[in-house]
Amino acid sequence: MRSRGMDLDEDEYGEENDDDLAVDDDEAEVEVEVEEADRGASRKRRRSGFIDDDAEEVDEDEDEEEDDEDDFDARGGRKRQYKRRDASNFFDEEAQVDSDEDEEEEEGEDDFIVEEGTDLPDEDGGMRMLSRRMLPHDQEEHEDLEAMARSIQERYGRRVTDYDEEATDVEQQALLPSVRDPKLWMVKCAIGREREAAVCLMQKYIDKGSELQIRSAVALDHLKNYIYVEADKEAHVREACKGLRSIFAQKITLVPIREMTDVLSVESKAIDLSRDTWVRMKIGTYKGDLAKVVDVDNVRQRVTVKLIPRIDLQALANKLEGREVVKKKAFVPPPRFMNVDEARELHIRVEHRRDPMTGERFETIGGMMFKDGFLYKTVSIKSISAQNIKPTFDELEKFRKPGENGDGDVASLSTLFANRKKGHFMKGDAVIVIKGDLKNLKGWVEKVDEDNVHIRPEIKGLPKTLAVNERELCKYFEPGNHVKVVSGTQEGATGMVVKVEQHVLIILSDTTKEHIRVFADDVVESSEVTTGVTRIGDYELHDLVLLDNLSFGVIIRVESEAFQVLKGVPDRPEVALVKLREIKCKIDKKISVQDRFKNTVSTKDVVRIVEGPCKGKQGPVEHIYRGVLFIYDRHHLEHAGFICSKAQSCVVVGGSRSHGDRNGDAYSRFPSLRTPPRIPQSPRKFSRGGPPINSGGRHRGGRGHDGLAGATVKIRQGPYKGYRGRVIEVNGTSVRVELESQMKVVTVDRNHISDNVTVTPYRESSRYGMGSETPMHPSRTPLHPYMTPMRDPGATPIHDGMRTPMRDRAWNPYTPMSPLRDNNWEDGNPGSWGTSPQYQPGSPPSRMYEAPTPGAGWASTPGGNYSEAGTPRDNSAYGNAPSPYLPSTPGGQPTTPNSASYLPGTPGGQPMTPGTGGLDMMSPVIGADSEGPWFVPDILVNVRRAGEESIVGIIREVLPDGSCRVALGSSGNGETITALPSEMEAVVPRKSDKIKIMGGALRGATGKLIGVDGTDGIVKVDDTLDVKILDLVILAKLAQS
């Protein structure tokens, strides 16, 4: 005890001295808690102060100490703490006392000071430190107050300069701890007693003095369970902690030198919370909610924020009425604007109050203030976070009330700027100044410094570049700019700026053709066209995917974490948001299905939807799965242009591409060589077919040698699917193929081979030779004499075209001819088509179309069929019916006795245009907009009658029943006959022929064919001099007059 007292004495000198200094040095930093200004303690201290200079009185002091300890024992740790605090508190006064008295020798070597950096503004005093440090002994005895004052003055002055110097980096660097400096140890202590532990250490130091070899102790507010002790050795720390209850010295960890500064550096509080800043709530019901600062009270550290209330009015009503409120913890009411009327309905008292400060009117409900539906809440600064707030667009939208317009927005959006990334502005960016004197000045970024952006102003007469603070700048776009979104939810999307609303751009997305709202900050100008993110994992935009629940769909949009999938539900568009894990796999099958008329549809074929909500839409098939087609129509704006439809409700337009490409396209590019595109169904298919005689079947017969032999074919089905080989022999319904890849001859069903391999003209013609057809020939042959002459005048391809559908069906229709055809007919026309006798293979040749029998057959299916015939639907039905015999069938129709009776009523054109007309009807284009009869006067036609050569003639007059008066001879000077439409065919015009248009809107107009493009003719119309692209089918050569 004694020695302890002595130590204390010695210390006390220093202590006083030092306190004096400390006060001088760092007034502000001596944050001392004055919770209980215990006068007694103060007195006691004062006495001990006297003791200090009077060693004889040590005993007394000792007594005091004992008293203290007694007190402690009696009242427990709490009391002790207070006492110690008081004691520490006392230093201040003591120092004053000292200086007042000014008589002590001040030669303390080890001084207490409170180090800088320990200031925490809150009332409790953040950290407490004890430190020993050598101070220059600059203090001599002060005899008078003046001298004292002077010295204080001196120190204050010095301090100021000190601070200035500290500001420089180098100085700061020099202050960093090095290896030689004492180390910092982290010591565990009781939770919640960090401060107490530090204070205990301080007291112990006071008591024990230099015996304790630690330098300082630090308790940090934000660090629970630990305090820091500065000491040279771990042992010193241990020693110091010995006997202190709140400190558990078992585990002492060294803080690495590098991290030492972090321990004591104060978190920068330099967030300028100003009005209109966007913040987020950190705690409570509103945790995570966006709020707008409306008022800041820096003194009381409180802010008033504007929130969208999350109030359960019912619960509130219950509470206010004193009823039991069921606490549902998990339930957080959704944010909703407060509706005062609603509240009143629930009998909640709503008061109107005027804010005394601002004079604004608020509605007050149960102590909560509302205005315009927003909740105004005053919270501690600590309970909000103002850093890195990125309000989403939706949130901002909600905050935007009708009354508020742009200006307010920009101000509030300034928060957003604060969170801009580094390198936000790039050289060349167009910017606009939004704040300050230069507001609304536009310019381009020239250079970017730390915070300043050098811009080249748009307006002349200004300096070349101006340095503007980054925060005063905003990117600037003009409508029409093509931009790319580089951050935010729409990241990756590109589009054209449609509108600029202050800081917000409205962009028309390139892919979705939808409007996107983005912040100008989030976009950059770019010429790139992307859809944004187009793939996650294995799945890409527009992929067909199988989903978890075995449904499937096409990915129509890729969002940040999910896909939007247009489900394969044909009736209505159904879009689902699907996560990656919900997708089972990608469906990548190359399958084909049959359309409404049993035409094969494979991917990339263009189809038209003839049924359902999307009726009339047309586009290439992108995916096929389970009889459902996904069609891409670029004019369809929803669902990224995808339409889902049943295969059954679609018709192929213009032939299946997968087949159509077989023969190569080179040919068809040349009008002179190209097939006149009478038949849209793969008109090119047979373009190089042999003369019609080939198809007459004379060469055929299942004798094993037909044209197919020697041809290179590809096997489409069966175990050898995909193989290619040369046909060695044709044997009935099977062919023997020598495979290319294997030294092997295999027998394959001839239905299973296809010919989409390199074409040889030889094979082309041979294609007609099909053994399996033999039985049909009787029925077909008559057709040919009848049809063939019509095509003789160089029109061979037509004939081939006619036959195309046959082949398009890939052999199949051939073999089981009749039944299949019947099916088809049933498909296309309900009714008795299939049973019509004219289809019987054995029906009389050539006459069959004019024979009364079929007429009767037609008659037996009266009205219904025919009246429908004129409707577009049925027309297209005809057009697409795959049976090769189709052409002849409609041809037969009008020739029946009945025809005239129903013709006039059906402008569908079909019955009026037998023969070729029927063929023409196969063009969906025509079928769709067929308007009126086919033939028009003054065109050249080939007139053929059964058994006669075809003769060129000029139509002079079209009679009401569809037949025409034709003047024979190419100049029309021969005899005039009346010909049935079925006996006539318009002469196909060639390039630079004068033509007459037989259908469509321009029907009857004359013009000149200036070019031919596939199945289209480019026509310069005489009257208007317009250049039109018209189907060749509706063009006929005009007779020279």
Binding site: P479, H482, V498, L508, H635, L637, R669, F670, V1012
Partner: protein
């Protein structure tokens, strides 16, 4: 804007077309190939109007195809920013309307339609002024100003505005 310019192209021709009609074939193939195409620099090739000259053909090894450098005159159509065009409305929806000027598709956003015109949905969606005097619907002819263009490999897409003096409907099919 339309331009009449001379372009060059290397045409590949299959040997089977060599003969009397080689030149014709070449020309028709050229027309087939280039008419209707679109390039970012020149825009749409509307029509080939003539052949300047056909260079010497070069036979390709292996294929037998012959490459002819062909210089041809053609009319091209290229929309420009700021250009005023007349177009036919093809589709109207709540976001605006699409119009076509020849091969060029132009979108006029509802933000770029005068504020007094409002979208009316229904069978025939349209934009109508409050007094009903002006109506934009499908097949209306409008005069618009192009404010932005985007050029793809196969099409040019433009954004237009009718929010300016002397722009808007010039011919309404409904009133005819």
């Amino acid at each position: 804007m339309f331009f009449h310019i001379v372009l060059e192209r290397n045409m590949q021709l299959h040997p089977r077309y060599f003969g009397r009609n080689l030149r014709d074939n070449l020309v028709s193939k050229l027309m087939k190939d280039v008419e209707g195409t679109c390039s970012g620099r020149h825009g749409f090739v509307v029509a080939v109007t003539g052949i300047e000259n056909v260079g010497k053909g070069l036979i390709r090894d292996g294929t037998g195809f012959v490459t002819f450098p062909v210089k041809y005159q053609c009319v091209v159509f290229r929309p420009f920013k700021g250009e005023i065009l007349e177009a036919v409305v093809t589709m109207v929806n709540k976001m605006g309307f699409f119009a076509e000027a020849g091969p060029v598709q132009i979108f006029v956003s509802n933000h770029l339609i005068p504020d007094d015109m409002e979208f009316q949905s229904g069978d025939m969606p349209n934009y109508t002024t409050s007094d009903g005097s002006v109506k934009i619907q499908k097949d209306s002819e409008v005069r618009l100003k192009i404010i932005g263009t985007r050029v793809d490999a196969t099409e040019i897409f433009c954004i237009g505005t009718i929010k300016d003096d002397f722009l808007g409907v010039i011919n309404d099919p409904a009133t005819i």
